[in-house]
């Protein structure tokens, strides 16, 4: 039997999700509910849950701050949110579990099934990476890249550039690795656009710290690994302005 904790500042949401779990899922016991991050922290330490349903927006201390205050995350986290475009996009890209309110019973069942499939082997690395991402400390920032072999967590500083090809994005890393992710480049433009990456072409986005040489005449950019990437006509002016600000 999985032990679940629900953390949400709205009393109706706490009761509602508890009722949904008992009505629509099997093999889950709600061992505690908490109406604030502080209460939630206490409940986690006392009950050692398998899964925590965590509301993001709570007054005073939000769901992310709660997780930041834990040394280790040895349970699964399913974020719950009503409508936060940025967070949803980031969850999606980081391969984290989340449920949108009002919660769909089918999605709830799927989220619980994922927890069950882990059979007690919970790894908080993905959540930790995400928390680091939003903490604004670039040196600690990571991104979760979900591929057919699993999810790789990569420091942003390790990425040289990204190449988009239709529905796929290829990540070229300092280690020489190339990781293929089945999301388009636009998704990553939204996520990394304000983190030192710049879209220079419909097919390329580069880490501005990893550029070696830019040739104005040919509009070619040489990256730190020697790869040459094109700067499109349309994005050239914006890119030059960006370079001036470096």
């Amino acid at each position: 039997m999985l032990k679940a904790i629900i953390i949400d500042d709205e009393p109706a949401s706490l009761r509602g999700l508890e009722k949904m779990i008992t009505t629509f899922t099997e093999g889950v016991t709600v061992v505690a509910t908490a109406a604030s991050a502080t209460e939630g922290l206490r409940a986690i330490k006392t009950n050692h849950p398998d899964v925590v349903f965590l509301d993001i927006e709570m007054p005073q201390k939000d769901g992310f701050e709660l997780l930041k205050s834990l040394d280790t995350i040895n349970f699964e986290v399913v974020f719950t949110t009503a409508h936060d475009q940025y967070a949803i996009r980031a969850f999606h890209t980081s391969a984290l579990d989340y449920l949108l309110k009002p919660i769909d019973p089918e999605e709830l069942r799927n989220a619980i099934q994922k927890v069950k499939n882990k059979k007690g082997h919970y790894d908080g690395a993905g959540v930790k990476a995400y928390i680091d991402n939003i903490s604004g400390q670039r040196e600690k920032q990571q991104i979760g890249l979900a591929s057919s072999n699993g999810t790789s967590f990569v420091h942003l500083d390790n990425i040289i550039y990204l190449r988009g090809d239709g529905a796929y994005t290829y990540f070229f890393l300092k280690t020489g690795q190339k990781i293929t992710v089945s999301k388009n480049l636009k998704e990553y433009e939204r996520l990394l656009g304000d983190k030192g990456f710049y879209r220079i072409h419909k097919s390329y986005m580069v880490n501005l710290q990893e550029m070696k040489k830019y040739s104005k005449g040919s509009a070619k950019l040489i990256m730190s690994n020697g790869d040459v990437v094109d700067v499109s006509k349309r994005r050239k002016d914006g890119f030059i302005t960006e370079l001036a600000e470096l």
Binding site: E10, P11, R15, K19, T23, P59, H83, D84, K101, P102
Partner: protein, 192 residues
């Protein structure tokens, strides 16, 4: 209608209909049904229905009557009070106002930001909305309970949107509207 104002009307309506608030209302309805609070679920549904109709009715002209706007505001406040239960109180003074036309989507976004700014500090939110009519025009005062504090960054989007709406409104030489902010208080003055 002037194009810039029309676009702004649609943006304001979209911001209301597609807001965090709407999904929270739907969530509240679902939770109340799940926990057997059918009467409350229907009440929230009815409040939201009225708000949605009001928003759609004002979308063409961007104008509303003071009475309708006040009712809209009250429906919003009741629905948020049901959501946050004992954590939120509000006072609308007077209970009903009768006056001519006014632009829609100016008052509610400010009240919404004030409610959430007040809740964010962790004790009971007490939001006071006062309407005063004098020789100079009409004045709406929205005051939160976080004395001497400004609206936190994440709720400022509403205020920014209203400021832009007022800017466009004033630019087209309609009866001028002003918004002043002082700590936890925001005052909208309309010279109609």
């Amino acid at each position: 209608m002037i194009e810039a104002l029309h676009i702004n009307n649609l943006q304001s309506m979209k911001a209301f209909i597609g807001s965090h608030f709407m999904f929270n209302v739907l969530n509240q309805i679902q939770n109340r049904f799940l926990t057997g609070q059918t009467k409350e679920a229907v009440q929230v549904l009815s409040l939201y229905n009225k708000m949605l109709r009001h928003a759609l009715n004002t979308s063409k002209t961007g104008m509303t009557s003071g009475t309708e706007e006040w009712k809209f505001l009250e429906n919003y406040l009741i629905s948020e009070q049901m959501r946050f239960q004992g954590d939120m109180q509000y006072h609308l003074t007077p209970e009903l106002i009768e006056m001519g036309k006014m632009p829609a989507f100016i008052l509610q976004p400010i009240v919404e930001a004030t409610v959430h700014a007040s809740l964010a500090i962790g004790h009971i939110a007490n939001v006071q909305i006062t309407f005063i009519k004098d020789a100079g025009g009409m004045l709406y005062q929205v005051r939160g309970s976080n004395t001497d504090q400004n609206i936190p960054e994440k709720y400022r989007e509403n205020i920014t949107r209203v400021k832009e709406r007022i800017r466009i409104w004033n630019e087209h030489k309609m009866a001028p509207i002003s918004l002043t902010e002082n700590g936890d208080t925001r005052i909208i003055r309309m010279t109609l």
